[in-house]
């Protein structure tokens, strides 16, 4: 029973990482119907920026400084990708996917040349050592921190989307791009904003990855494919759907690993998602629309 609870907790912390890694993908996909294959490299960039920040800002607050730095860095990189590539290819979603894959390859190789293939270590601050012990289960502070960050990011994003002017514009473009454009909304700017925001969230997620293990050029790759599956399962551009899908897949993966090894659990995760779309092809939360080819 304790083992089960422990794995359940690990599942929740894994789900938090999946959520942070997939929110940006899901938002951009809902808005523009494009997938940025270099999204995993935003995680990697966030990891390296965390490492760089901690070498400049030592002490207990370093990690708290690293999160905004990683967010800003990854958001800027996302902006470059959006303006340079995604905007030009907006009419061809599958081509966007291939072109951004090229960006992903280049960024990974650049990281290998700059920092070496071995990876760099980030030392978690002392206040993240240890953990909580509840009955027979141990909750490591690092993982609690990751869950907390995911909750804060999710709350902040929801507030931005629901309560601010930019959020209003995003929701308008999300509902009906043509109509939003006709009312004078600068659709291109909304696209860029969302793309930067999503990339920034991935950058913040990269800081969390740096707490868990060494930052390597391919660190994003381990999380990006589950994040894609979260997007497939979540439904079009819905924050709620993405959250539910991330929670289900994270917990599913962690619990599956109690019975099978990691490689089999990956296959099970994929089969689970394919079975899920048999039941709900529109995802966890369906986008309500009357357009035939939405």
């Amino acid at each position: 029973m304790d083992l089960f609870l422990n794995q359940l907790f690990n599942g929740v912390s894994l789900a938090s990482l999946y959520l942070l890694a997939s929110l940006g993908l899901a938002l951009s996909f809902g808005l523009m119907r494009v997938i940025n294959m270099a999204h995993g490299e935003m995680l990697m960039l966030g990891g390296y920026l965390a490492w760089a920040t901690l070498s400049v800002v030592p002490g207990p607050a370093g990690i708290l400084v690293a999160i905004p730095v990683a967010f800003a860095g990854a958001a800027a990189m996302g902006g470059v990708i959006q303006v340079g590539l995604v905007r030009r290819l907006s009419a061809r979603p599958l081509d966007t996917l291939l072109a951004t894959w090229g960006v992903s390859l280049i960024l990974q190789q650049a990281a290998r040349d700059l920092f070496g293939a071995v990876g760099v270590e980030v030392r978690a601050p002392a206040w993240l050592d240890g953990g909580l012990t509840l009955g027979g289960i141990v909750l490591p502070s690092t993982r609690l921190f990751i869950i907390a960050v995911a909750i804060v990011v999710l709350a902040a994003l929801t507030l931005v989307l629901l309560k601010t002017r930019i959020g209003l514009l995003v929701r308008a473009v999300n509902q009906d791009r043509m109509m939003a454009s006709a009312t004078g909304i600068d659709v291109g700017r909304v696209d860029l904003t969302v793309f930067c925001l999503g990339s920034g969230i991935a950058g913040a997620a990269g800081v969390m990855l740096a707490l868990l293990g060494p930052v390597t050029p391919s660190v994003g790759q381990a999380y990006i494919i589950p994040a894609f599956l979260v997007v497939v399962m979540g439904g079009l551009g819905s924050v709620t759907g993405t959250t539910v899908a991330a929670a289900v897949l994270g917990v599913f993966a962690a619990l599956a690993q109690m019975f099978v090894d990691v490689s089999v659990s990956q296959m099970l995760l994929l089969i689970f998602v394919v079975l899920f779309i048999q039941i709900r092809p529109q995802g966890v939360v369906a986008a309500r629309t009357r357009q035939l080819d939405a």
Binding site: I35, L89, L98, V103, I225, V264, Q266, V274, P281
Partner: protein, 343 residues
């Protein structure tokens, strides 16, 4: 640009024919090593033909062709591991991993007919099942691409982790004979070369006919307006499923032949990155052009061979840049230059 095109175009138009002439003459011109290399690249060309059908004509982007390539390759490799064994023994790597007996699913591969059938039919059936599961629920093309990439990752990880049954990270190698012919002998190599060339030409002619037929027309119609096809009374699903299964079968054939020429099959050839590299063959050659796919497969493989032996890091930069430039500036690839379509 047009002046340049006018000069390039006639040259590119004869390129496929020149390549065919060269391919026929190759066994008399090339050294054994180079012939082997050419044969491997032609096996990749067979796979690339399938990608033209599903991606160019069907609008289905698969980032998991490496899986089907791997299934074909492993089927043949498993047979060759068993064929060379004295009765009652198990392959060497299994012994090293501490296995006592052959896994049950290895046993039928002792029969060459079974292995060849499996190399073609297992990918086709898996491809059909997979495509049907996604397309019959009307799930879109981007989702399909993401799911195939997840499949490529899961498959490669699975193969690596089952060290005692698949040879793990190193894959399967050290083959001695196929159907009683010694793999190492030049005569066998030349025979396999002719076989590969014949299958490549057969697949080319067959797909050319298929894509010109009503099937091809409906496939393109489903690509351009899936709902309109439904309104006209057709279900696009069977067309997409059959196309994907055929492409998977061609990938399996390519993988089987590649394994025979390379003498090895390993996870390094089947995972996420190799799978997406297979798409770049077609992107460079031209996504709508069968001849382009073969040219692209040969060109990219040649370039990789030349570049990565000297500067391994450079190749990844080059491939990344190729993806970006070809997709943004030359969406119809080399074939687009021939037809004079800039866009």
């Amino acid at each position: 640009m047009t002046a340049l095109n006018d000069r390039i175009r006639p040259a590119l138009r004869v390129l496929p024919w020149a390549l065919l002439a060269f391919a026929v003459a190759a066994p008399f011109l090339l050294s054994g090593y180079d012939l082997n290399l050419l044969a491997r690249f032609m096996a990749m060309g067979i796979l690339a033909l399938g990608i033209v059908m599903i991606w160019g004509h069907g609008g289905i982007l698969s980032l998991g062709q490496g899986v089907f390539f791997g299934l074909g390759g492993y089927a043949v490799a498993m047979h060759m591991k068993l064929a060379d064994l004295p009765a009652g023994e198990i392959p060497d790597f299994m012994v090293w991993s501490g296995r006592e007996a052959l896994p049950w699913w290895w046993e039928p591969f002792a029969s060459p007919a079974f292995a060849i059938a499996a190399a073609l039919l297992v990918p086709a059936l898996l491809g059909a099942l997979f495509a049907w599961a996604v397309f019959h629920r009307r799930v879109g093309g981007t989702y399909f691409a993401l799911i195939t990439q997840a499949l490529a990752l899961a498959f490669a990880t699975l193969v690596i982790s089952q060290q005692d049954a698949t040879g793990g990270f190193n894959g399967l190698t050290d083959f001695y004979s196929i159907l009683g012919f010694g793999i190492a002998s030049p005569r066998t190599a030349t025979g396999l070369y002719w076989l590969t060339l014949a299958i490549l030409c057969g697949a080319f002619v067959g797909l050319r006919w298929l894509l010109a037929s009503r099937f091809g027309m409906l496939l393109r119609a489903a690509r351009d307006g899936e709902n309109r096809v439904r309104f006209l009374g057709y279900s696009p699903v069977p067309f997409k499923v059959v196309a994907f299964a055929l492409a998977a079968m061609l990938a399996g054939a390519g993988g089987a032949l590649f394994t025979l020429h390379a003498g090895v099959v390993s996870p390094a050839l089947i995972g996420v990155v190799p799978s997406i590299e297979m798409v770049i063959f077609v992107a460079v050659g031209g996504r709508y052009s069968l001849a382009g796919a073969i040219v692209g497969a040969l060109a990219i493989n040649l370039a990789r061979d030349a570049v990565s032996s000297a500067f391994p890091e450079l190749w990844l930069y080059l491939m990344g840049a190729l993806f970006i430039l070809v997709v943004t500036l030359m969406p119809n690839g080399l074939a687009g230059l021939v037809r004079g379509q800039a866009k």
